[in-house]
Symmetry: C7
Subunit: 84 residues, 7 copies
């Protein structure tokens, strides 16, 4: 269950190449494939969909997200699997 996560960045490292849900300040949600991250939690995502009221509002390709606008990052598979 713990998946070998010792430090918070281990979860991001395990999620490279996988879909993640990212929740941004200002109540924005995006889903995309995590390609890269750094210690400031700057991210590069690919194939991004901005989600609003459970619908895709906009799509972007490769995108750089600044870390200080991020609230949480959740691998989409586990997020969806456990959704009620």
């Amino acid at each position: 269950m713990v998946n070998g996560i010792e430090r918070p960045l281990d979860l991001l490292n395990n999620s490279r190449g996988k879909e993640v849900l990212v929740y941004l300040k200002g109540d924005k949600q995006v889903v995309g494939t995590l390609l890269a991250f750094d210690i400031h939690i700057n991210l590069v995502l690919d194939n991004i969909r901005e989600i609003e009221n459970n619908e895709v509002k906009r799509k972007f390709g490769l995108t750089f997200l600044r870390g200080d606008t991020i609230i949480f990052i959740s691998p989409a598979s586990t997020a969806l699997k456990k959704e009620v």
Copy 2:
């Protein structure tokens, strides 16, 4: 009563693998199992439930929470035990 807590991070260290209540800026509350933390108070929680008006609003699996959005972190057992 003091539980060997010399520094604030000792409480987080003692809470690994246990449920914690996390209060976020913007009046969000989540409960989940604490897997990892770092000195920026970035957290990884598992089996998260977002709580609104005492009801579970959404569920997430493994999730990375950025430290600068966090107000407080309370081990859920002691929180519940002492709730009026």
Copy 3:
């Protein structure tokens, strides 16, 4: 009257194990026993009561409070003693 306080953290050090009133951003007030603090003014409090309009709204046990949400910290004994 000065109680040997040379630097601001001396007051926190003198208050370990005692009740303190903590005023948080967003007009939240909590009272609890100060167990630990660090240079970021992260705190661990025990036996916390959240106060609203002079009434206890919620109670928590051991809790980690992030320093950057704190406005002021006042040992409760002196706060109460001098309350009009």
Copy 4:
């Protein structure tokens, strides 16, 4: 698909001389040619168009953008290619 992106700044490096869409705090969007960036994500863009409701509101030439006002940066070609 990954385009040799190991770290987030690699995407900015690959985008030099190309059009990028930049989303700023306060819901501002600009499109321009990325000439330079640094580790604070300060940018220099050329030939900027400020976009509002899918229309060009204002145009600027060479412009320095401070990093801490930036939410995300998306190379415009991939953004447009994948737009629905």
Copy 5:
């Protein structure tokens, strides 16, 4: 007139043991005796009165004030002396 003030912290050093008026973010004003300060402008004040509309709203004893909530600090004697 200059009172030997070469650097901003010299004014705080000269004000130890004296009353100061502190203006906080969120339009809060307190008056109290300055006991200690550090380079983050964290303060310890004693015998604090919170002022609202020229009236004392609340009183506190020894209190730690976090520097990042402070806008300005004015020795109360000079503030009052020059008040119209």
Copy 6:
């Protein structure tokens, strides 16, 4: 077209002694002659005009602008040349 700009500060260096348009947080715009800057993007401008609805609202002489209130800086000549 690129004007020898390798790093973002190169644009500011090239703009010394020239007019720049500076956009500040809180929707303030000023135009003035750039005399000096540092790595925090603190600026000194001379002969400043504050612009509101395309009209000059106020004028200032030599002025120090703190970097963290700045959103973007655009040399006024290129801004005007490309204005529609």
Copy 7:
């Protein structure tokens, strides 16, 4: 015209002992004599007048102003000289 200003702090250094207009976050304006400053742009001003709608609202004597609440600082003589 340039007054030997190579770096932004040179303007503050040249303004010691002179009147400056300081514009603070939250639309506050004060005028006072600059006695001291540091690299955080913390200031000590003397003989401060808080200005609202071109009228003096309050007066203070020696005052410490925290740098992070400051938007701009303009020597009052040049500000007044060029006022329309």
